[in-house]
């Protein structure tokens, strides 16, 4: 299963992912129209600023295995697909008890103000690539299988190493 993987070292904190997410989850799916919409479209990815490092990290639902949010949800508003592991939220069933928010290790369950229900990443079911990933100008977000990410990182590390060796040889 492909996941939204984060490469924090590449994040410049531009928040493009946040906006793309909100737009994708708006009525119109168009930036210029979305900013005028009521209820205001809400993002499900959060660029978190870490003051200590003066750096930003995009945080979004990890779709954890045996996701705690789904286990604690009394009404099964939060459900996990057994095969794809995608955790989805059915706002009709949500009673706003926020236990999901409490047990979420990543703090990525938000609250829809008007309906007073949870909002979270659904991996953009209508798209091949989630909007946040597509919006990322630096590829800090990638939509990839975990295995493959390791491959990508390996290649990058090997390249770095090779460059370093070359540098030394010179």
């Amino acid at each position: 299963m492909k996941e939204v993987m984060v490469r924090p070292e590449r994040c410049m904190g531009c928040r493009s992912c946040e906006i793309a997410c909100a737009v994708e989850h708006s009525e119109s799916k168009d930036l210029f129209a979305a900013v005028m919409e009521k209820p205001t479209p809400q993002k499900r990815i959060y660029v978190e600023y870490v003051p200590e490092y003066n750096a930003a990290i995009p945080m979004t639902c990890r779709h954890c295995e045996e996701a705690p949010c789904t286990t604690v949800c009394p009404t099964k508003a939060l459900k996990q697909d057994e095969i794809t592991r995608v955790v989805t939220h059915n706002s009709d069933l949500c009673i706003g008890c926020w236990t999901c928010s409490m047990v979420c290790n990543y703090g990525v369950i938000g609250r829809q103000k008007e309906a007073r229900v949870a909002v979270k990443c659904n991996l953009c079911p209508n798209r091949d690539i989630p909007a946040c990933v597509e919006a990322c100008p630096t590829n800090a977000l990638v939509f990839i299988e975990v295995k493959k990410l390791a491959g990508v990182k390996r290649t990058e590390a090997a390249l770095k190493l090779a460059r370093g060796m070359q540098g030394k040889a010179l």
Partner: protein, 625 residues
């Protein structure tokens, strides 16, 4: 997902060259646009501010994050400030162009620019009269010299409105005065923009925008208008003539010199130099049949209007011209010249020659141009091009067949002449309903819109509905490429317009010049309004910029609307991050200047908006629907 050539342009020549570019692995503006995707949403909405070093700041458009910048500026303030800076840049571009024209004019009058002379004496006398300069018993040079000084003073004028605003109808002048937006010295307004948008100065969106209107007026009724008129005096007021456009104007057997940018001052000389016998002889020597000068963008429009020099293309075709492999020299002055040309010309034998003291680019051959030795520099440039001819790789040459004949040169004077010396026949046609109104369609190309799609379709819709279209800039070139600038295009017009065009032998779309020549449209509109005894905002007229992209276009839009003309924009300006500013521009301004903006990317819907507006104005004037 990469677009194919079909998605990128409606123009066959352009499509051919785009495929060629793809084949050769050459990157164009369209490719770079794709690499820019997705573009920054904060930028698109105009809600990032870099005006001080506490920033950059940005506002969360969905209200969850920051709602104010560090200084406390809200989205409204940030959007308004950004817009004002954009207007300032646009107004500066036109006006600085004008300043150079006036300086050339002045040097000419002082005998310091021997290559230039007065081509339109009547216009000189008329302008001098407007400025109250005595003309009796004075040499043309004396008059010119005094006029030049008077015009120069408009830039630095500290008090009172600039002179050409007097050309506007009485009611409009009064309205501006009441709003406190009569433009003062051009430089002053622009400087004030920069001052107001500095950290901690003007922080009321409406207040900021009003100054935006004022600054734009100093462009439309100042900078742009001065540029047009001085250039007419120096190089002649355009008259109708036929010529050809599109990439097909480049020739396989001649030395091709492209003049690109926005000023006529050098290009006039180059056109002349290309006819110099010694250079033609040199060309022969180098194996060329002759020397072919062609234009791109508004430099092209200037020589086209006055000399019928062919045009190779619009803004978005500048790279494609080089890709033909047949261009010996790409000679540029200022504005709308892509820095990408440097790397691009490096892939071909083309010499990229920058000439303006103000504008240099990577990869250029620098041949700085000064009025004092204009002719020599021009010849040197052409010589460089000719000598470059043998470097052309015939195997690489790929010139599309497509070129289109067109009729151009419709200055206000030329239009009046065509009408028999007075606007009356046109007014009669309008009041009689044969012509519903006037559509002014102008502006650039923008990769966000399929090349020429917005321009051509909008114009076609307008003429189909009996709206006479006046055009300038890249819209004019687009229309020319689509064959709309031919009298035969009247066949595509509604019956009323068709009849008039056929009677007068003019096309239904009148090319009025370069982008500074939008001032001609203002003059024309004023003339019609004055004849009817109404304000410009009462006229059955509407403006549009279907594919606009530059900051100049924002200034133009602002002065056109401030002058009372409803204007439809085809690409979304970077203001939607503030509902207040967006609302003011699209609604609020109606109550202020009697006109407003609309945003409509679809050219057909845009035409509907314009037609509806024209209908409404006709109704208000009590005219037949």
């Amino acid at each position: 997902m990469t677009q194919n050539a079909q998605d990128r342009s409606i123009d066959p020549a352009t499509r051919i060259m785009l495929k060629q570019a793809e084949k050769e692995g050459i990157e164009t503006a369209w490719d770079r646009y794709e690499k820019q995707q997705p573009q920054c949403s904060f930028g698109q909405l105009g809600i990032c501010c870099r005006n001080c070093n506490m920033g950059p700041c940005r506002i969360d458009p969905f209200g969850e994050g920051a709602d104010k910048g560090v200084c406390g500026a809200t989205a409204d303030i940030i959007v308004a400030r950004n817009l004002l800076r954009t207007i300032a840049a646009g107004a500066a571009a036109h006006s600085d162009h004008a300043r150079d024209a006036v300086l050339t004019f002045k040097k000419m009058s002082e005998g310091k620019a021997g290559s230039y002379c007065i081509k339109d004496e009547a216009k000189l006398i008329a302008l001098a009269s407007e400025y109250g300069i005595p003309v009796e018993d004075r040499s043309r040079e004396e008059i010119a010299s005094e006029l030049a000084r008077a015009l120069l003073e408009e830039f630095g004028k500290q008090e009172g409105p600039i002179r050409f605003t007097q050309r506007a109808p009485e009611a409009r002048l009064k309205l501006w005065a009441e709003l406190g937006i009569e433009p003062r010295g051009i430089d002053r307004e622009i400087v004030e923009c920069m001052h107001r948008t500095h950290m901690g100065v003007d922080n009321d969106a409406t207040h900021i925008l009003l100054h935006g209107l004022r600054t734009s007026l100093s462009d439309g009724w100042g900078g742009s208008m001065i540029a047009t008129d001085v250039q007419d005096v120096l190089f002649g007021t355009p008259e109708p003539k036929k010529t050809t456009v599109n990439l097909g104007v480049l020739t396989r057997d001649k030395v091709n010199v492209i003049v690109h940018g926005h000023e006529p001052i050098l290009s006039e000389m180059i056109v002349e130099a290309a006819e110099a016998p010694e250079l033609l002889a040199l060309a022969k020597e180098k194996g060329a049949e002759g020397i072919n000068v062609a234009g791109i963008c508004c430099t092209g429009n200037e020589t086209l209007m006055r000399h019928g020099t062919p045009i190779a293309g619009t803004f978005l075709q500048q790279e494609l011209a080089v890709i033909t492999g047949a261009v010996e020299a790409m000679v540029v002055d200022v504005q709308c010249v892509m820095p990408a040309l440097g790397a691009l010309t490096g892939c071909y034998h083309t010499k990229f020659i920058s000439t303006s003291p103000k504008a240099d680019f990577p990869g250029t051959v620098r041949m700085e141009f000064h009025e004092e030795n204009a002719c020599e520099t021009a010849k040197e440039i052409v010589r460089t091009a000719v000598e470059n001819f043998p470097n052309r790789d015939p195997g690489k040459v790929r010139i599309p067949e497509e070129k289109q004949e067109c009729m151009v040169g419709f200055s206000v004077e030329a239009i009046l002449k065509a009408l028999g010396g007075t606007p009356a026949p046109l007014i009669d046609a309008i009041t009689g309903g044969a012509v519903k109104g006037i559509g002014a369609v102008v502006g650039c190309n923008n990769v966000k819109v399929k090349h020429n799609y917005g321009h051509v379709n909008l114009v076609k819709e307008l003429i189909k509905n009996n709206v006479l279209v006046v055009t300038t800039g890249c819209n004019a070139i687009a229309c020319a490429e689509a064959g709309l600038l031919m009298p035969e295009a009247a066949a595509q017009a509604g019956d009323g317009l068709k009849g008039i065009c056929e009677a007068l032998g003019i096309p239904p779309v009148l090319h009025m010049g370069s982008c500074v020549d939008i001032s001609r449209i203002l003059v024309l509109a004023s003339a019609v309004a004055k004849t009817l005894g109404v304000d410009i905002s009462d006229l059955p007229a509407a403006g549009a910029a279907p594919e606009w992209m530059s900051e100049k276009a924002v200034s133009i839009g602002a002065y056109v609307v401030s002058s009372g003309v409803y204007t439809v924009l085809g690409t979304v300006p970077q203001v939607l991050g503030s509902a207040a500013v967006a609302g003011l521009l699209t609604e609020g301004l109606n109550g202020v200047v009697g006109a407003s903006f609309a945003v409509e990317p679809d050219p057909f819907k845009a035409a509907d908006l314009m037609l509806a507006h024209i209908e409404e104005k006709r109704k208000a004037l009590g005219l037949e629907p």
